[in-house]
Amino acid sequence: MSATLSPGASAPPHDTEAAPGRKVGSLLVMPSVIVLLAWMIVPLVMTLWFSFQYYNLVSPETRGFAGIDNYQYLVTDPDFWVSLENTLILLVSVLVITVGLGILLAVVFNQPFPGRNIARVLAISPFFVMPTVSALIWKNLLMHPIYGVFGALANTMGFNAVDWFAQFPLSSVIAIVSWEWLPFALLILLTAVQSLDHEQREAARMDGAGVIAQFFFITLPHLSRAIGVVIMIETIFLLTVFAEIFVTTSGGPGNATTNLAFLIYARALLQYDIGGASAGGVVAIVLANIVAFFLVRSIARRLEV
């Protein structure tokens, strides 16, 4: 975690504090640093430690050093690779949908139109709905093949209702998660679009650039930074989507919607295999850190202390 940054890259030139002020300062920062350090280090070390141990809560008598057995078991388990694949499919699909539509909507919501503020409030609302509610409302009220709205719509149009969670389980989860995160992308990207210099666009228009050209040569480059931030923040959350899967499919049918988070949960709290679950946890941490490295770096560039 902390290895991703080099602290003290730039000392603040303006505010040189006298010694007592500095002492009080670090005294005030210390509590937060200590609790965060404990919150990070203790579980991290424990996860690493358990991942090299035989440790099953059901059979407490077999314990001891396992070497890389847990990892070996993990990589030879087809479920693990499926879960990794599902994690990545979920991640990439939701990113493409939310960022793609998010950019489009940000541009639309940047145009003046009647009732724009109300429309924006409605559009970002899904982000504030708790994941268990989102998932169950979609599953039961909308996607249910017999009682759901989609089924009813399909029937009136002369199609057969689709049993979404049975036929397209992963896509169904992707739809729900995209619905939750599109408002986030929209909100961030809209903020970025609004900071676009109007004169620059005006100048481009004068020079004869059409709406499309303006979008590709001015808006999109201006948004690149915000898009990067959206992608990275979403990635951190999307790598560990859990509640939506927990309440809709429980990872099924079979392992069709089991992602890494759900696999680890099942290993730990359903099969009580602490060692195996910890090995999975280490994989999740490594994955998240690859993303975190880039995120922290891009935020650091903007940070003025």
């Binding site: 991703t4 940054l5 009080v24 920062v29 579980p43 358990f50 931030v229 560990t240 650091a300």
Partner: protein, 271 residues
């Protein structure tokens, strides 16, 4: 730049179209909550509105318990995070040292630790010390989970307070504690409030730790709603009523804190 009538028409069409589409599931949930169970399973608009489902949800002896857990845990986690974060953000904004930048970025990087990566040790630790299924357990987790965001947001707000005001206060003999209490807190109260609001929203909707670390005793509304996922719990109207009550307060909070949300969730990277 003036929009052409066509542009304006298209913006209206797409803007309102997507807004209504995105809001539809929420609107449908609220609508269904006023149906009877019999009407709820036929997706239609013709029904006699009833408050039965709300009455039924309230009648469940444990509903208020779940709601209370949500309130206590969210408030507790937010207050605890603020208690740690206010002094830290104050110190880093007004008495920066050569370590401040590194500290801030390091705090941010702790947020990147995926919860599922540390589920096992936290679960075992909680089991050992008897904190599984307790409110205080979740309060601690939520405070730690949000602490980096809370510090960052407060830091951003404190940075915008002009240093001269503090200088003047110091001239008048205000000590550090007094400085925070009499000068900074009033000046940055809106910032503290919106930081708290964001933390409340995040705590209220958190559904990884609450599902894994609580059962009957300390489970908040996220877990209560999850209990509707079992097949025998499939009562659409009651699910909708319970969901509406769980979502409504935080939705209103969310509407009021859109701006701060952008700041807080992107760590000031997008302005």
């Amino acid at each position: 730049m003036r929009a052409t009538p066509l542009q304006r028409f298209l913006a209206t069409l797409f803007g309102w179209g997507t807004a209504l589409l995105l809001f539809f599931p929420i609107a449908w949930m609220v609508l269904t909550s006023f149906k009877s169970e019999r009407d709820a399973i036929t997706p239609g608009l013709a029904f006699t509105p009833t408050l039965d489902s709300y009455r039924d949800v309230f009648a469940r002896a444990d509903y208020l318990n779940f709601a209370m857990n949500s309130i206590v845990i969210s408030l507790g986690g937010t207050v605890l995070a603020l208690l740690f974060a206010i002094p830290a953000a104050y110190a880093m904004a007004f008495h920066p040292t050569e370590r401040t930048r590194g500290t801030l970025l390091w705090m941010l990087s702790t947020k990147m630790l995926p919860p599922v990566g540390v589920l096992v040790p936290i679960y075992l630790l909680f089991r050992t010390v008897g904190m599984l299924d307790t409110r205080s357990g979740l309060v601690i987790i939520y405070a730690l989970m949000n602490l980096p965001i809370v510090v960052w947001m407060l830091f951003t707000f404190y940075k915008e307070v002009p240093h001269e005001i503090l200088e003047a206060g110091r001239m008048d003999g205000a000590k550090t504690a007094g400085e925070v209490w009499y000068l900074l807190l009033p000046l940055t109260l809106p910032g503290v409030a919106s930081t708290g609001l964001l933390s409340l929203i995040l705590c209220w909707n958190e559904a990884f730790w609450s599902l894994n670390l609580t059962s009957a005793g300390a489970a908040p509304l996220t877990a209560f709603i999850a209990s509707f996922s079992s097949p025998e719990g499939l009562f659409f109207a009651k699910l909708s009523a319970a969901s509406t009550m769980a979502v409504a307060p935080i939705l209103v909070f969310g509407w009021f804190s859109q701006r701060q949300l952008v700041q807080g969730l992107t760590f000031g990277a997008v302005k």
